[in-house]
Structures are given as structure tokens and as C-alpha cells.
């Protein structure tokens, strides 16, 4: 593959200098991930819920599935506008009606996932500050973080990126330190049993895979910057692959290291301690590391809340710009150009969730973090699967000079893999929630998402008949006004001279 041709003019040189390389895109996508939240808040829970040691294998399976997905996803991103949002892929691959249905499911899932983090944040802060002598309920800490996230969310995105980058660097360093320490203090020597195919099975497999997918959310963000990339064909694909690879390495190494330090036979029982990662660090490195780890977990969950807040706000903003939902969600801040209306909306939703859970006296860890977080995970898996199908259908119509691997083979394998993950997650959703099979809640969540999708599809059908110019802009995000203007004058997009 040849490098892009050198710019031939002053203007093109200036524009080229402003383009982003792989490392810049990697910076944006990795700052959207908060690995310590996944390791300390998720992996230990996975041991407890699954009752198995196959967590590293679960991460391997999901990393490979998402890598296959990303091959077709980044290939299609080169041919469409609004390439940062999966509903846009669905609108272009399967049609605008499924696109709006997916947009409603996506917006709800991101919203719920962000709100769920306030439960983990509140309970972590409550424990940490209680040890320091400050006794306050979880919701007081959650509301303080909510206010901070709400304020930062209405600032320019680059400010947030710098905050997130510093937190990420510290987090990764501590995770690697803890992991190396765990491997250096093995209970029974280094065991490869966690990577054996028999280590993951039964009803718990679906729970493990669903939780593993949530840890990778954010991997799709390099496509958002496709138009700013130095080489749209290679830079975005490399950054996406590197994001999945780096996150997979961290998750696999950390979860495997915990098993190594505790022992294959003891890790499930030891996971009753939600602070297992930090307890091990305290035993091996000194008690100060427990506090350091917990403080970093608190900042990590706050960063995760901020990251998902921004993702959700941008999603709502793009939908507002398209007028697919309330058009006022498409307003920006004059001073910072941040999507301020969408950001405030997400802040209000998060605040209502915290207040509601506090008033009803619900448990922040089980009823907010686990229930709401895992439920949103089901919505996001459905979104990735539908997006994968859209990629297959899109390239089935026309390969657009993409390779057979990128346009046909990898997307098809990704759909098969994600369909398997979706089936296991829905079928074993009761395990994920920790309730009895046949309970109302595990059945209610998929039904709720189905109803949302149907409502979205109904709204799209209304737009098609009642507001065709809005319907034409579906899936185009920021560029929707161009498409809508073209529709008003019944001239194809981009044609201006004859209008």
C-alpha cells in the first residue's frame, strides 16, 4: 500500500499539518476507556458471578470478535459521513427506519451506562471517605461527582481529553504494577488453565462475555475523527486495532495475574472481597497501595462517567442536529462549541437517577451499577451486532474497492461471533443480574429495548411521510443540514450549480 501523495500547495500543506496521526487517534480512543474501573469494578465481579476462572479467555474471545468487527466497520467508515455513530452505519446499511430504531436503543444504552457508574462511584467514595472519618451516604458523593461531570461536560472537549489522558496514564501504570506484582507472587506457579477452553462454559459464559464487551466500549471512537486523519484508509484502522489490542492486553494480563496470585481453586471464593485487586497489592507491596488503588479507582470511575457523558452528549447532539429527536439537543455553547444542550440533558438524567435510587433506598452497587450497567450492556451488544449486519449488507451491494477480507469475510465472521455473544447474554441474562431464572427483570430488559426499537422505527416511519427532508438527513449527523437542504430543493447532495 502506498503512502498518500505529498500535498502540492500552501493550502493543502497547511491542512495536512493539521491532520491527526495514529497516536493522536489512539490518545482519543484510549482516554474514552478507563481500565481500572473495568479491572477493579468489573473483573472481580465477573469471578464472583461466573464462579469460573475463564475470565481472561472471555476477554480473548471478545477482543478477537471486536477485531473482526472493526475490520469491516473501519472499511465502511471510509465511505459514509457521521462515521462515529453506529446508528449511522445501520441507517446506511439497512435503511433509515432501522437506523432510527438503533439510535433510540443506542442513546438509551449510553445514557443508562453513564448513570450506572454513579452507583459504583458513590459506594467507592463512601468506603474510602469513611476510613478517613467522613461519614456521608453514597448519594452525596455521587451527586458531587455528578456536578463535576456536568460542569466539565459543558466545557470544550479538548480540556476533558487532557484530564482523561493524565488519569489514564496513572491508571495503566498502577494496573501494570499490580499485575507484575501478582505474577511475581504466584500462589501455585503460573497457570495456563484460565486460557483453556474448558475454563469458560455453562450459563455463566454469557455473563462473562457481556461484561467483557462493556470493557471495550470506546474502541469505536477513532472513526469519529476519520475526516481529520492523515490517511483515512490506514490511520483509523490502525488506531482502532491498537485500541482493542492495548485494552485486551491490560484486561487479560490483570485478570490472569489475579488468578495467579490467589490460585485457580481459590479465586472464586476470594472474589467475595470486592477490593480483591487492592487487597493483593496491599499484601504484596504495602498497605499504602490499598489506599492509592482505591483513590485511583475513584478518579477512574469519575473519568469513566465523564467519558460516557461526552459520548452520550455527542450522540444526542448528532440526533438533535438531524432533528430525529428534539432539535434543541443540537445546540452548542457559543463560547466553547461544546454540545451544551445534549450535555445538560444527560446531566439531568444522571441526577434524576441518583435522586430516584436514593429516595427509594435502592442498593447503589447491585441495583444501580450492576442492574443498570449490565442492562445497557445488552443494548450495546445488540447495537454492535446490528451494526455488523449493516456492514455485511452495505458491502454485499457494492464492495467499493475494499478487499474481500475487509468487505465480506471479516464482517460475516464478526456477525456470527457477536450473534453468539448476544444469544448467550440474553439467554443467561438472569446470571448476569444475579437473579433466579424466570424472574421478571431478565425478561423485562430485552422487551424494553425491543419496545424502544419499535418506537424509534415508528417515529422514522412518521418522518418518512410527514417530514421527508428530515428523513433524508437521518444518519448524516453534522452534515444532515446539507442533505436536508438538498432534499428541500429535490437535488442530490453536493449539487449546487444547478439549484
Amino acid at each position: 500500500m502506498s503512502a498518500p501523495p505529498a500535498p502540492s500547495s500552501v493550502v493543502q500543506s497547511a491542512l495536512a499539518r493539521d491532520k491527526l496521526g495514529t497516536l493522536s487517534l489512539l490518545h482519543f480512543s484510549l482516554t474514552a476507556a478507563t481500565p481500572l474501573t473495568v479491572i477493579a469494578g468489573g473483573v472481580v465481579v465477573m469471578f464472583a458471578i461466573a464462579g469460573q476462572i475463564g475470565i481472561p479467555l472471555g476477554y480473548v474471545i471478545i477482543a478477537v470478535s471486536l477485531w473482526l468487527f472493526s475490520v469491516g466497520y473501519t472499511a465502511m467508515a471510509r465511505h459514509i459521513s457521521n462515521a462515529g455513530a453506529m446508528y449511522a452505519f445501520i441507517a446506511r446499511g439497512l435503511g433509515r427506519v432501522p437506523g432510527v430504531a438503533a439510535a433510540w436503543v443506542a442513546a438509551t444504552s449510553y445514557c443508562a451506562l453513564q448513570a450506572s457508574l454513579y452507583g459504583l462511584l458513590g459506594i467507592t467514595a463512601e468506603g474510602l471517605f469513611a476510613r478517613a472519618g467522613l461519614e456521608l451516604p453514597w448519594w452525596a458523593f455521587a451527586l458531587a461527582a455528578w456536578l463535576l461531570v456536568g460542569l466539565l461536560g459543558t466545557r470544550a472537549v479538548d480540556i476533558n481529553a487532557k484530564v482523561l489522558a493524565i488519569l489514564l496514564a496513572v491508571e495503566v501504570a498502577v494496573i501494570l504494577l499490580f499485575s507484575v506484582s501478582n505474577f511475581a507472587h504466584p500462589a501455585d506457579g503460573l497457570s495456563f488453565a484460565p486460557l483453556s477452553p474448558t475454563a469458560l462454559g455453562g450459563e455463566a459464559a454469557g455473563a462473562v462475555l457481556a461484561l467483557a464487551v462493556i470493557g471495550f466500549i470506546g474502541f469505536e471512537s477513532p472513526t469519529v475523527y476519520g475526516e481529520e486523519a492523515k490517511d483515512r484508509k490506514r490511520t483509523v484502522a490502525r488506531a482502532t486495532l491498537a485500541t482493542i489490542g492495548i485494552l485486551a492486553f491490560i484486561y487479560i494480563a490483570a485478570s490472569w495475574s489475579i488468578i495467579t496470585a490467589v490460585g485457580d481453586d481459590n479465586v472464586v471464593a476470594a472474589s467475595a472481597d470486592p477490593d480483591l485487586m487492592f487487597t493483593l497489592a496491599g499484601e504484596q507491596l504495602g498497605s499504602a497501595w490499598v489506599t492509592i488503588g482505591q483513590v485511583l479507582l475513584l478518579t477512574s470511575v469519575t473519568a469513566a462517567s465523564l467519558s460516557f457523558h461526552n459520548t452520550t452528549a455527542r450522540y444526542l447532539f448528532a440526533l438533535g442536529r438531524e432533528q430525529v429527536v428534539f432539535s434543541w439537543l443540537g445546540r452548542t455553547s457559543v463560547r466553547t462549541c461544546a454540545p451544551v444542550a445534549a450535555s445538560i440533558t444527560q446531566t439531568v438524567v444522571g441526577g434524576l437517577v441518583i435522586v430516584l435510587w436514593a429516595v427509594l433506598g435502592l442498593d447503589p452497587l447491585v441495583h444501580l451499577f450492576y442492574y443498570l450497567g449490565t442492562s445497557s450492556g445488552i443494548g450495546l451488544i445488540a447495537l454492535i451486532l446490528t451494526c455488523g449486519i449493516a456492514v455485511v449488507v452495505y458491502f454485499a451491494r457494492d464492495r467499493r474497492d475494499e478487499s474481500l477480507w475487509a468487505s465480506r469475510i471479516a464482517p460475516t465472521l464478526a456477525v456470527l461471533a457477536m450473534a453468539g455473544v448476544m444469544y448467550l447474554s440474553v439467554a443467561h441474562f438472569h446470571t448476569l443480574l444475579g437473579v433466579e431464572q424466570g424472574s421478571l427483570l431478565p425478561r423485562l430488559v430485552p422487551i424494553l429495548f425491543a419496545v424502544l426499537a419499535l418506537l424509534g422505527a415508528g417515529w422514522a416511519a412518521y418522518l418518512k411521510r410527514g417530514r421527508p427532508e428530515v428523513y433524508a438527513g437521518i444518519g448524516h449527523g453534522a452534515k444532515a443540514p446539507l442533505v436536508q437542504a438538498a432534499e428541500r430543493t429535490a437535488v442530490p447532495v453536493g449539487v449546487t450549480g444547478d439549484r
Binding site: 502540492s8 500547495s9 500552501v10 493550502v11 493543502q12 497547511a14 491542512l15 493539521d18 491527526l20 462515529g84 470544550a156 472537549v157 479538548d158 481529553a161 469519529v224 475523527y225 475526516e227 481529520e228 455527542r314 447532539f317 448528532a318 442536529r321 443540537g330 445546540r331 452548542t332 455553547s333 457559543v334 463560547r335 466553547t336 462549541c337 461544546a338 454540545p339 449527523g477 453534522a478 452534515k479 443540514p481 446539507l482 437542504a485 428541500r488 447532495v493 453536493g494 449539487v495 449546487t496 450549480g497 444547478d498 439549484r499
Partner: protein, 223 residues
């Protein structure tokens, strides 16, 4: 309040987007650059020095039919840049280039020469650098473009000039709808929409790409 002393679209766009006063905030620098870029392109399209046509699915900027070069240095600079391009560039590329080429400062310097702005320098010992700022020579003149548009939107008694209709489009696109429409009669938005809908095709194209560029900036941040 007096009307603006100059019909120049880009001067009015600068006073609306980059000048901060009691009635409205200054727009973020990158978005202001995009808005000023659109205003400069529009001004040269209206004067016939540049043209916007669709070709190969893209909206490209071409040298216009008017033979004589622009009289002022700002317009001349852009027209010469467009002429020097071997392959014509698309409108979004020009908007992005004008934003990163600091068209805001170039416009401000131009307005200093025209006597509309005053340039002041302040040496910061802490930052070890000189900060340049531009203040309006006359605060009433600085407020005039927005006041003029608000007057037209409130009286709604005659057709808006084309230049003001595009200025309206820029003001809305950069996010200043609130100060523009605040406390105006209920039909003001419909009156404005009526003007925006009938903008000539090249100006419609510039407006659409400006709106899209501002939204892109909101999604990807100030890269």
C-alpha cells in the same frame, strides 16, 4: 443606533462573532474562524471574484467570472490562493484552512487599517509573551450589525439585502441565535427562514457547509 459604516460582509461578521459585548458573548475562536471564512468566501462569490460549483459530488471553489482582482488585500489574498491551486478544493477544506490560517486576526488587522478597531499589545511577564487584543474604535458601531439585523427582523417591512441575509445565516450557524432573536416578534424566525430559504445556490452551499463544520467541531472538539 447607527447602521454599520461599511457594507463589508466580513467586517460585520467579525463584529458579530469575534467582538464580545454586553448583549452577546464572543464565539469560540475556531468557530469564529469558520464563520469569518464563510463570510469572506460569500463576499467574493457575491462580488463575482469566486464561484462555487458542484463537481464529482463535491462543492468546489473556483475563480469567479469577474476579471478584475478585488481592491482590498483580504479579498485579494484569498482569490490569489484559490487561483494558485492546481486542483480546486472543496468548500469544507477552504473553511477549515481559513479557520487555521487565522482569518480572524487577518480580518482584525484589516479593520485596524480601516479605523474600525484599535490594536493594543500587552506584555505578560508571567507568560513571557506579548498578547495582542483588538477593541472597537466605537462601541456603537461595533453593535450596529446585530442591531441592524434585529431591526429588520422586528419590523419585517421590507426585503433584507442579500448580504444581510447571509450575515443572518452566519450568525445562526455560529450559535448566536439567542441574542439575535431575543425579545423579537413571534414571526421573526419565519421571516428570517423565508430569506434563508431563497439564498442563491452558492450561498446556500456555503451556509450548509458552515453549519456542518460547526457541528463537526462540536463532536470532535477543537483539535
Amino acid at each position: 443606533m447607527p447602521d454599520a459604516p461599511t457594507p463589508r460582509l466580513i467586517y460585520d461578521a467579525f463584529l458579530i462573532t469575534a467582538h464580545h459585548d454586553f448583549y452577546k458573548p464572543a464565539v469560540s475562536p475556531h468557530v469564529s474562524g469558520l464563520g469569518l471564512g464563510a463570510a469572506l468566501l460569500a463576499e467574493l462569490v457575491i462580488s463575482g471574484h469566486l464561484a462555487v460549483h458542484a463537481q464529482g459530488g463535491e462543492d468546489l471553489v473556483f475563480p469567479g467570472p469577474r476579471g478584475q482582482p478585488p481592491q482590498d488585500s483580504l479579498g485579494l489574498w484569498l482569490v490569489e490562493l484559490v487561483r494558485s491551486e492546481q486542483d480546486q478544493l472543496a468548500v469544507p477544506q477552504w473553511l477549515e484552512y481559513l479557520a487555521i490560517a487565522d482569518v480572524q486576526t487577518k480580518t482584525a488587522e484589516h479593520m485596524v487599517v480601516a479605523g474600525l478597531l484599535l490594536r493594543s499589545e500587552r506584555r505578560s511577564r508571567w507568560l513571557q509573551r506579548t498578547q495582542v487584543s483588538y477593541e472597537a474604535a466605537d462601541a456603537l458601531i461595533a453593535q450596529a450589525p446585530l442591531a441592524r439585523m434585529r431591526r429588520q427582523l422586528s419590523t419585517m417591512d421590507q426585503r433584507m439585502p442579500l448580504v444581510d441575509a447571509f450575515l443572518l445565516a452566519v450568525t445562526e450557524a455560529v450559535g448566536l441565535s439567542k441574542p439575535l432573536y431575543s425579545q423579537l416578534p413571534s414571526g421573526a424566525r419565519d421571516y428570517a427562514d423565508g430569506h434563508l430559504r431563497v439564498l442563491p445556490a452558492p450561498l446556500q452551499t456555503l451556509r450548509g457547509h458552515l453549519i456542518a463544520a460547526v457541528a463537526d467541531n462540536a463532536i470532535t472538539g477543537n483539535l
